[in-house]
């Protein structure tokens, strides 16, 4: 799929915060190279990988060169911050992560860093999304231990 083929909306700056429309959040992740998508929950003291599933805080439907991620704030714990990331053994590919509503996107260029945090989800009165873009040269292990 080419970015021109879909409506990707306004580009987000790294660091920008947005409020999603209430309910589930759908994110299309398009890429030119194989990678794994993961959701991490963290607070001041610990970081944990979140299991994906239809009744879990998130689920992933994979297709060629990407996936559709559904984030379910109603299944999330308000005291935690959730990071949607991607990792690969040989650097992270070009990633285009498009949120469906409001229609916005974050474009992350290829990097030698083996892991990248794409979006962060957290509750501050309402659920919010931060365009993160943080890179981790040490890959998933570094992202988990940060």
């Amino acid at each position: 799929m080419e970015p021109d083929d879909i409506e990707i909306g306004r580009p987000l700056q790294v660091g920008e915060r947005i409020q999603p429309v209430a309910g589930d959040i759908r994110i299309m992740i398009d890429s030119d190279q194989d990678h794994e998508v993961i959701l991490i929950a963290r607070d001041e003291e610990r970081t944990e990988i979140v299991d994906a599933g239809p009744d879990a805080p998130y689920s992933v439907e994979r297709y060629d060169h990407g996936c559709e991620v559904t984030i379910r704030p109603s299944r999330m714990i308000g005291d935690l911050r959730y990071v949607l990331g991607a990792y690969s053994s040989n650097g992270t590919p070009n990633i285009l992560a498009t949120i469906s509503d409001p229609r916005v996107h974050l474009a992350l260029p290829r990097s030698d860093s083996a892991a990248v945090s794409i979006y962060e989800f957290y509750e501050k009165q309402d659920w919010r999304i931060k365009a993160d873009g943080g890179r981790y040269a040490g890959g998933l292990q570094a992202m988990l231990s940060s």
């Binding site: 700056q13 790294v14 660091g15 915060r17 501050k124 943080g134 890179r135």
Partner: protein, 187 residues
């Protein structure tokens, strides 16, 4: 309080206040986030007129007007517990020519490093009274996410004392862009 709304500071007989700025150390790769706290001392014409009218991290600007405003040192990573940077202001010792103090928070080398407040986790600025009461605060990560500097508040001289007003005016030009509006030529 609404932006630009003035409220007389209740100092309980002690006119010392503190500006505190804090943030979390960066977890991912790349340059750290280095936030800087500054206070501009403005005359009635809205300008600074001497070197002592800027209190900031730079040598020569850390203690101004005989200690009326003191910057306690530059923190470059956000690694401390509690406030990472602090400026104490003794309003009783502010020289007569100063009618307004402007509190500014900025990110060092933000444009070169392509950083903004939104990338910084847990960034805030707050004003404390001498007894630790919080007079005002701002969540910079949320409220100034697109900016590299913010004029947080002003404290202005009135007949009855000093008045506080939130400004929360963001800038994408960093500290240099802000202070140049008030008569300083950044070097």
């Amino acid at each position: 309080m609404k932006k630009n709304e003035q409220r007389l500071l209740d100092t309980h007989g002690d006119a010392r206040i503190t500006v505190g700025v804090g943030w979390h150390k960066k977890r991912s790769d790349g340059p750290s986030h280095d936030l800087d706290t500054s206070v501009l001392l403005l005359s009635a014409d809205g300008q600074c007129h001497e070197m002592q009218d800027l209190c900031c991290y730079k040598p020569g600007h850390r203690t101004v007007h005989g200690g009326a405003v003191i910057h306690y040192g530059d923190e470059t990573q956000g690694a401390k517990t509690g406030d990472d940077e602090r400026i104490d202001i003794n309003l009783d010792r502010i020289p007569d020519h100063v009618t307004r103090l402007l509190v500014v928070v900025s990110i060092h080398h933000a444009n070169a490093r392509q950083q903004n407040f939104g990338q910084v986790n847990g960034a805030y600025v707050r004003i404390l009274a001498h007894d630790g009461r919080e007079i005002a605060s701002c969540d910079l990560s949320e409220e100034a996410s697109a900016f590299t500097a913010i004029e947080f508040c002003e404290i202005s001289r009135k007949h009855e004392g000093w008045a506080f007003a939130p400004i929360e005016k963001g800038s994408s030009q960093g500290l240099a862009g802000v202070i140049s509006q008030y008569g300083f030529n950044p070097r």
